[in-house]
């Protein structure tokens, strides 16, 4: 299998965000069939002074090496995918994610993460979110999770 070279990751335009959290609700719908957002959402929008920050996985994949059972794999489209059928719920990836983007909800033992599905992009009424294609080798330099208000 050829290694994926690019991956789509989320880019945030804080100036367009009004903090409505429809993105989080759309995300929790994908992962938990619930529109609660919050702890059940892989993307989080955090108020920061008068503006907002986005906190989400950047598909960097440092967690791949943490998984003892191979539940974390980089898929053909480049995203880091957690197979919850294989996952044994050890939380090693949650604990070791350097940016805290591997998430755990109280609803189940297996963690979950952003899969770049675009549900949040579609849900945002203001166009504050965008999926952009980046080279996997360059993700470390891009680090979109840091974009937003300082």
């Amino acid at each position: 299998m050829d290694k994926p070279k690019t991956v789509k990751i989320l880019k945030f335009h804080p100036e367009k965000c009004d903090g409505c959290l429809l993105c989080e609700k759309a995300c929790s719908k994908v992962h938990f069939k619930s529109d609660e957002g919050g702890d059940k959402s892989a993307i989080r929008i955090i108020k920061d002074g008068k503006s907002y920050k986005m906190h989400v996985c950047d598909q960097r994949g440092l967690c791949l090496d943490m998984c003892p059972v191979g539940a974390l794999q980089r898929r053909k489209n480049g995203i880091v995918w957690l197979d919850k059928e294989v996952c044994i719920g050890c939380q090693a990836c949650v604990g070791f994610c350097p940016i805290g983007a591997m998430r755990k909800s109280e609803a189940r033992i297996e963690p979950f993460k952003c899969i770049s599905c675009g549900a949040c992009v579609r849900a945002c009424p203001n166009g504050a979110l965008e999926l952009v294609e980046v080279k996997i080798d360059r993700i470390k330099e891009v680090v979109y999770h840091n974009l937003g208000a300082e």
């Binding site: 980089r74 719920g89 050890c90 939380q91 949650v94 070791f96 033992i109 470390k140």
Partner: protein
Amino acid sequence: MVEGQIPIEEYDTGNTKHKWDFKKLKQAHRVVFKYSYKKGKVEKGYTNRTLYINLSKKEIKEKKVTEEMKKIFTGGRGFGLKLLWDSIKPTTRWDSDENDLVITTGPLCGTTQYPGSGKSLCLTVSPSTNIICDSNVGGFFGPYLKFAGFDAIEIQGKAKHDVVIIIDGEKGKILIETAPLEETDTHLLSEQLTSMYASEDTDKSRQKVSVVTSGKGAENSYWGCMNFSFYDIRRKVPRVKQAGRGGLGTVLRNKNIKAIITKVEKVSGISNNPADPVTLAKIGTKLHREVRDLDRYQCNMRAVGTAHLVEIMDEYDLLPTENYRFGSFPKASKIYSPEFYKYFTKIIPDGCWHGCTMACAKTVDGFTVMTGPYKGQKVTVDGPEYETVGCGANMSIWDPLWILEFNFYCDTYGLDTISTGTAIAFYMEMYEYGILNKKRCDGIELCFGNSYAVLELLHRIASGDKGEFVQVASKGIRRVKDWLIKNGWGDKNLIEDCGMESKGLEYSEYVTKESLAMQGGYGLTLKGPQHDEAWLIFMDMVNNAIPTFKDKAEALHYFPMWRTWFGLNGLCKLPWNDIEPANNAETDDPTKVPEHVQNYVDYQSAMTGKKITKEELILQSERCYNWQRAMNVWMGRGRRKDDWIPFRSMGPVTDMEYISRKDRYDRYLAEKIGISEKEIEKMNLKEKMKILYDFRQDQYQKLADAVYFRRGWTPNGVPTPQKMKQLGIDNPEMLKFLQETIEKDDKDGLNVWGGKYGKGEEPPSIQPKYWEKW
């Protein structure tokens, strides 16, 4: 940590690949007897039943775990003691038909969220000590045994021919099959069986199988270890962890068990069905983050495992060198952890159970074997851990590659590296003094530093060599001491003082000469000199935090109880204090790591659903600890005379040991014994050594006095019925036995303190039979 990954499919160890005809191997199997069971569910950490197999009677049955059993024995090692008490007799020896080999799990065993939660506790009557030996081991077997349906497995009797025991958690079947054609040595046998019993030909399927094996060395020695496998989906080999101490693998092979195999249908994060999985995930994640942020600045376990200790021990004069004569050596830097780091495979999750992010289980892959039957093959070496490197130092082997060679053969032959290394170091010292020589060693030049000779001895043991030396050497230090003395070779006192064994078990790899508390940590133990009960050297020697006998006794009460607790629950001790919270030093009791103790309180509560306190954790241990000591007494071994330790562990036995640390010992004579500097100058070496010898022997007896008293025992080291009742143990047979023993000791004049108390000194109690007033 290096960024960038080795994709699971792409990693290649470079090991020699083996092709076996599995069909042929399987066709040669014959089912001897079998049993079907109803698959159960784990409830709050317990399956509430144990599996009993009798190989002589061809019987298999389930035993119920009662609430009372859980209350008194908690689980794990505690369950093992209960099962042994019900099955063996005081006269049972390691090779008796009724000797019971027990592998237990514990209520927290198999949790994936908290690091270090996959330990099995193995117990049996040991060939080395003739009392119960317990050994704590990683690998997948314990968790899988539980998920297959049992809190423990016990095996009595012996099979007529080599058998494998299969616990099939997928189908709910136990099978005892002959296995005539498989290999015996672990690295091959575990690979064969893992492939043969996996449901599908995939790595994920092989990962759901775990096997317990030993090897040819175990058959021909008293040092047999049991290897517990854990299949590595990246390296694509079953790796192994050892239940090393006390010859458990020897018992396994004596029962003609080639392997025990367990497989499971599925493992999930809640296979234990905990009462509160949310809390478990929270405290587990908290610890993962501590490991992530702090390990590289603390123990560096994730990079080099326990081998990080080598340089620390060398610096503090604690690394056993040339049979514990010295604690450091000029060449020691050749075997510091960075030297092994060069060979270790990096950035692979190296936990011996899922979710252990301490990941201390390092390997060298593609190691080219240099001697013996596997010469030239490329293999995965599991380790070396600190103890194995320490054995290198003890045998004066300063080459990492030869330590790896020793490590590999010990593992695959099923030999405990600690007992093997410590014993050979003793034989080497005897060789240096001429008490042993080439002729007496069956032609082996067993001198310090001779790596070839060490491996030669291992190969001869494994091949069943009938030479007199090989035969007796493989039974350990105690038997060799008796053999040397019987032959009139060498001075009896020198032999007794140099050979590092107590209760018949070889010491593990720390020099204890300057720490009285640690001498107690080795001598005043249940199974023999192993550091898993207490490690007090820094607290005692470096920080002088426990200066009085009473302080030391308190430490020799608390820490053995605390460390016993891990074994009752199926846990590893390392994540307790080999990683510490950043603010640990500022807490009121840093040596106990209070925040982590609280983690364990929360952890057990979250599993069982029962609220508990940290004091109750100690109480859980105290019950089992006292029970095991009482069983030692019951088997004729658990008294003051049995807590004897060799003088090599207390101070300098030979002139060169004194001279090489002359300033230290001269100062000791002045400061601790109160001899004036003038007098010391006048004394010759012999006189000084004699004074030191007598003083330190007396110190050890005084320490034993204080510890026995603190633990609630008689001055002869026997647990009292009063103490047992306080702990909630009311087994009438046990209480009656203890009462009778104490009365007999009284008649024999044995209930007296061991120390010589001078003016201004007092024994722990001046009341005779102080325990009767409790």
